[in-house]
Each structure stands twice: as C-alpha cells, then as structure tokens.
C-alpha cells in the first residue's frame, strides 16, 4: 500500500474496487491485523487492531475452515475463540447464509459455494460491528449471491460497517454507500452513490 489514508464511518457499506494486484486484499488483511503496515497506523473504533478483534468479522478469499470437520464443528471451534459456548448464534448464522445447521457432511465434501457461505457464517456469528469481506460472491450461484447480498443489506441496516471487495457490482449497486478504488496500492478514487432510500 502507498500512502492510503482512509476513515470509515460507522453503519456504512463500502465497496473496494481495483484491478488485480491493486492491493484490495492487502488492505483488508491490514485492517484485520493479518499484515502490518511498514508505515502509519490503523485504528478501529479508536483502538489498536488487536484490541478490537472481537468486533471484527473477516472473510478471506480462502475459506479459513478445516476440511475434516463438519460445518457446525468448525463454527463451534471458532466460537470458543470468541468466548461463545452456545450453539444458538451459530445456528442463526448458518441459517442466515442459507445452509442447514444439521448438515453432518465434512467441509471437504462441500461445494465451493457452500464453503463460501459457511465462511461468511464464520465471519458473522459473533455479530461483528465491522465486517471485512474479500470476494464473498465468488463461486456462489446467483440465487445464493442474492441471499448473501440481502444479508449484508440487513447487517448494514442494523448499523454495522461493511467493507467489501468484489468485482460483481451488479449485486450491490443499490446497497453500497461508497465506492473506494485502489490502483497500484494507492487510493485513487472515493465516490458516493445515491441510495434509493437516502
């Protein structure tokens, strides 16, 4: 990244765009605390990233799931890392992404689209205030993509901040509050869009 200065307002939906290699995923990784900037600082809710981790949900390009465990076993393990011992928020998250919580099949036997949806469930089960999503619509059929888009719209309406990387803008045209465009590691454009309900 080169000289990126960016402030995200609470409760807004940001779409991050740019050509391949522009630094979109790197920027998400930095905000999530997975990469450290060589210069500058990142503050989330006024805190260092590490102190704000419980309030962040991160969905990467890779599913971040164990192939040998079932969907719920994966979520139960990650839930314990967030201090969540109950199945209720997990079941709710799985249903919200359109999967069956009773599915005993191991993740290794899931289709790409199902993995993607379970990965989103992993990112949202703890009701994060900031959601970082890297290509959530890739490998997902149109019906599921529309379902995920609706879920994100609901989360935005509930006051959560969403920063999303995607090339499939058609799904988000009416949802996004602002488009951020990166090129060669620089933030080159920041443009708001008119929302129908604004």
């Amino acid at each position: 990244m080169r000289g990126v200065s960016l402030q995200l307002e609470p409760g807004r939906f940001y779409v991050l765009r740019g050509e391949n290699g522009a630094g979109k995923s790197t920027l998400l990784r930095m905000i999530a605390g997975l990469s450290t900037p060589t210069e500058g600082t990142i503050r989330i809710f006024g805190l260092q990233t590490k102190a704000a981790l419980a309030r962040i949900g991160y969905m990467a390009h890779a599913p971040l799931l164990y192939d040998e465990l079932s969907g719920m076993e994966n979520l139960r393990f990650f839930a314990r890392l967030y201090g969540i011992g109950s199945d209720a928020p997990l079941t709710r998250a799985v249903r919200r992404v359109g999967l069956d919580p009773e599915l005993a099949r191991r993740v290794g036997q899931y289709s790409q689209g199902m993995r993607q949806r379970l990965s989103l469930a992993r990112a949202i089960f703890h009701s994060p205030q900031l959601l970082l999503l890297d290509e959530p619509f890739s490998n997902v059929d149109p019906e599921s993509a529309a379902q995920i888009a609706q879920l994100l719209a609901d989360m935005r309406s509930a006051g959560n901040t969403i920063l999303l990387v995607t090339h499939q803008l058609g799904l988000l045209g009416k949802m996004a509050d602002e488009f951020l465009v990166l090129s060669a590691g620089r933030l080159v454009e920041r443009s708001g869009v008119l929302r129908e309900n604004a």
């Binding site: 999530a32 605390g33 997975l34 990469s35 450290t36 981790l53 419980a54 962040i56 991160y58 990467a60 890779a62 599913p63 971040l64 799931l65 164990y66 192939d67 040998e68 465990l69 076993e73 393990f77 990650f78 314990r80 890392l81 967030y82 201090g83 191991r106 992993r122």
Partner: protein, 226 residues
C-alpha cells in the same frame, strides 16, 4: 468475558485430536517410519541381549526423534490448508492457547506411538531392563516433552518456508542434541543398570522448563511473522 488460555488450549487440543482421528496423517507416518527403523536395525545388528541394552537407548530415541520430526510438520501443515491459521489470528484468542493445544496434541500422539512401539523394541531386540521401569517412564515423559516442545515451536517457525520439510530438522536437531544425549544416556543407564540416570533426568527436567518457557514467550512473534 474472554475464555482462559487453558480452556482455549483444551479446545485446540480437542480439535487437533479430532482432526487426527479423522485423517490419521500424523500417526500413520510416525508409525511406519518408527516400524521401519526397528525392523531395519534389527536385521543390521542381530544383537545379543547384553549388546541390545547398550544399543537400544540410541536406537529408540533415533526412531522417535525422526518420527516426531516427520509428524510435527504435518500438524502445522493442516493449519495452513484453506488459510485456517488466519482465522485464528483474527480471533481475540491468545496465541499461547494455540501453541499449548498443539504441543499437548503432539505429546499425546508421540506418547501413543511410543506405547505402540515399545513391545516391538522388546521383541526385536530381546530387551530386559536391569534398572527400575519407573525411571524409564520418567525419562520417556520428559524426553518426549523436550522433543515435542522444541519441535512444535520450530515447526511453526519453518511452516511458511518453501523447504519446510528440510528446514525443521535443520533447526530442531542441533538445538535438541543436549536433550537427546541425556535421553540416550539415561535410557542406557536404566536398561544396563550400570550407573544412575539421576543426573540426566534432572538435566532433562531443566531443559523442558527452559525451552517451554522460551517457546511460550516467543510463540506470538513466530505466529504473526510475515
């Protein structure tokens, strides 16, 4: 309230054992390697019972050391598949819990391997211990922890390198030489009954305490290294 390190370590331990039970990646590779060492050396040496007591300490620990090295890489490799380690790093959970859970899982698996291999060593090398068996148990518990704590730490360090299979033994074996020497000498001492293993056992205990402390202090840096 955030969960304690020990609760999270237990969650990691349970997850690792479940993954291993379903894939058997680690146990199978360790078992076959140790089995090969036992069989090949038994054909190469054909030792008498007396010679066996002198040789077995070295043979046993060489077999377990290399088997453990093979297994440790795999235990971290599954954390890299699908980028799962990143999911841990973005969670508000202490790195030490992951390390402790991983060490305990590896410790259990290596001890299981030792239990499975012990009867084979007895049969193939006609082994009878002259010294007390409880001392052997203490040596194996401490020696295995010494291997696992170092091995798990250095495997985490080398996991993102291109030649990790080569890198782990290069890092681990030189560091482990003092512990391996103590394990071999102590095991030989008990098997032959010629001298006391007390000094080696104390050394192993100190080695375990020092390396456990250092590994825990440094693990977070290793986990987040880019």
């Amino acid at each position: 309230m955030s969960p304690s390190v020990f609760k999270l370590a237990a969650a990691n331990l349970g997850k690792d054992l479940r993954l291993e039970w379903r894939s058997r990646d680690v146990l199978n590779s360790m078992l076959f390697f140790a089995l090969l060492v036992v069989v090949i050396f038994s054909f190469a040496f054909e030792p008498t019972a007396e010679e066996s007591r002198r040789l077995a300490g070295g043979l046993i620990w060489v077999a377990f050391l290399f088997s453990t090295t093979m297994a440790l890489n795999q235990s971290w490799a599954r954390e890299l598949r699908n980028g799962v380690l990143d999911a841990y790093r973005v969670a508000p959970a202490p790195a030490e819990a992951l390390f402790l859970g991983k060490c305990l899982a590896n410790y259990i698996l290596v001890l299981l391997l030792e239990c499975l291999m012990a009867p084979l060593f007895v049969v193939f090398y006609n082994l009878r211990s002259v010294g007390p068996y409880w001392q052997l148990v203490v040596i194996f518990l401490l020696g295995t922890w010494a291997l696992v704590i170092n091995g798990t730490f250095f495997a985490a360090m080398s996991i993102r390198t291109r030649n990790r299979e080569l890198m782990l033994p290069l890092l681990l074996l030189p560091i482990s030489i003092p512990a391996v020497l103590a394990m071999v000498t102590a095991t030989t001492a008990v098997l032959t009954g010629e001298f006391s293993p007390a000094g080696q056992i104390k050394f192993l205990a100190v080695f375990c305490v020092v390396y456990t402390t250092v590994s825990f202090l440094l693990f977070e840096t290793v986990l987040n290294a880019e």
